[in-house]
Chain length 391, copies 2
Amino acid sequence: MAARLFEIGARDGTARAGVLRLAHGDVRTPAFVPLASNASVRGLAAAEVAELGFEMVLGNTFHLFIEPGHAYVAEMGGLHEFMGWPRPIITDSGGFQVFSMGHGSVAEEIKRRRGETKSRILSIEEEGVEFRSYSDGSKRFMGPETSMEVQAALRSDIALAFDECTPFHANRDYTQRSMERTHRWLDRCTSWHAEHGPEGQAVFGIVQGGVHEDLRAESSGYVAQAPVDGVAIGGSLGQEKEQMREVVGFSLRGLPADRPRHLLGIGDVDDILHAVSAGIDLFDCATPTRLGRHGTALVADPERRWRLDLTKGDVRGSRAPIAEGCPCPACREHTCGYLHYLARRRELTGARLLSLHNLTFMASLMRGLREAIAEGALGAYRERVMRGEAP
Amino acid sequence: MAARLFEIGARDGTARAGVLRLAHGDVRTPAFVPLASNASVRGLAAAEVAELGFEMVLGNTFHLFIEPGHAYVAEMGGLHEFMGWPRPIITDSGGFQVFSMGHGSVAEEIKRRRGETKSRILSIEEEGVEFRSYSDGSKRFMGPETSMEVQAALRSDIALAFDECTPFHANRDYTQRSMERTHRWLDRCTSWHAEHGPEGQAVFGIVQGGVHEDLRAESSGYVAQAPVDGVAIGGSLGQEKEQMREVVGFSLRGLPADRPRHLLGIGDVDDILHAVSAGIDLFDCATPTRLGRHGTALVADPERRWRLDLTKGDVRGSRAPIAEGCPCPACREHTCGYLHYLARRRELTGARLLSLHNLTFMASLMRGLREAIAEGALGAYRERVMRGEAP
């Protein structure tokens, strides 16, 4: 089935450019998938997301399970019709969010706030996870079958198998046992899906194994032999970019070349350049829209990590756009000096304009990558972007 | 000068339809003026506001004085260029906001919370008002000359003269003394403007006088004889709709027929129908956008005061749009059941969609009024809208 789902049109080294043929349309890869966690890309209309050049969005299984509930979304015609987005949707498994409630989120981990968050997880068993709803405090359960059932009700184009997202601070022993359980959950997911999954819905398995080379190899091997249409790389990818790239390398090594590969939750420009070169096809990340809502624009400036914080005083009074030549409405119609004022006041219009700008930046980066691979010029493109040229 | 500024093209009873010819373009009246208090219509791009059919927005002199400061806006090319809105702008005088800090806002008054708000006003003198900035607590001053100077720096098409907005709870004696001071302030505003005002900027005087018939008559007479291009009706209009209509009547009686009239802060459908019939040309109100941000849609339903609260359970599961035939993106692309979910979660996309819907509703109402007056059919139009037909 993988051959029909994914066609690789061009290769440049280990990088690939291709087309994912999904139930609701094609997705050209490498692709960045904007988050529509709660059935909308925050502040944007669905039609606008398509106009920006995105062909798929990511819906959040866990959040939609809690609120408004998958039965409600199904009653409203499925997630596509519910949110007015007729194009492909990938839904995450819910594992990341479920386990974030217990392990603490990655952000909390980075900020060393682990332990401060009171766990909402009541138990993690072979069957699944029992937890308290953040919405009403009620006791809820999610296991592999629940996750697949929710994703079936949402009718997403790609469902992700339920996994435990092991945190960075987990020891090797826990990481291994968790990974093995995730593999057993994968089997339960594919079994459930074979019997009950909606027609045309693809399933991706998730590679876990923490930062450990042998565990990543084992997990890739396990997912590779499973009846899945594609593979996602999840879990802790390490504390630093170097380690993350190493772990992505460990994970990719055992994967079949013909199936699409999604690197979960990664979205920094340099990381995307690196991962695409290594053979990743799909990315999702909250960063572009979240940064936008908080007043930061993505710009062609590697030394500032491609970020321009518009709330800072150095853009005050500037009558220049964020980026000359950028086709987004923030750049076409507004100055940095105006966006600075909106960002400082946290005005809705500013959050929206910067979200539009940042997604325009990401769309342009991914288009550049696809074209570079097609031309066999990925190396030169990477160098240009890393030198600070506009993507 | 009034004759050149305002052309009345049609009359129906005391109602008029016309064109305001302003420095940045024409405004067809009767018109509703959306609030762009802090240099943006919340959540919308300037171009979208124009596409909805609005020809003028209202900027907030007081807020822009505090943040980012009128000197900054001037340095950025004036308010039009700053916010990317090339069409007419009316700026309020700042009086309403300055005095709200001391008297409590109208909303607080209605909710009987007066007294709970700690006053930020340090003194109200003949010269002007000293107060503490809500932004940084610094001591600031605003008087008639300050207000005009700020509005000159903003380069709005219409500046409003500085006034004290007397609250409903003020007694007759205070209201009278305040009104008399507002009249002296009007003279200082027109004097300042005659010498320093930017070319092409019109000035409107404001009628005060609380709910008292004789004071309103006196105030209208005073403003009528002043060298102003138009008149705004401000201050406390009473506690109930009946009284408000009566006070508008008192205020209109002494006004010259040939000058444009703006009723400040009024925006309910029935109030607009009534005021347009009485001879009002311009309206501004926070309601359409504020309601939208809080999950309420304007609908053709007089019994619900034209409001549909989408956060309520009765629209849950509805696959109907807010209004059949409405051309806004919320209605064209989304169901009430989806908007209900977004509104309950206070999602940005929902706030934006409902703001677009509500402004579409207001634009349609004003277009309907203009056409009805031109056809001499205002009575029938009012009746249809009051019966619950779409405007």
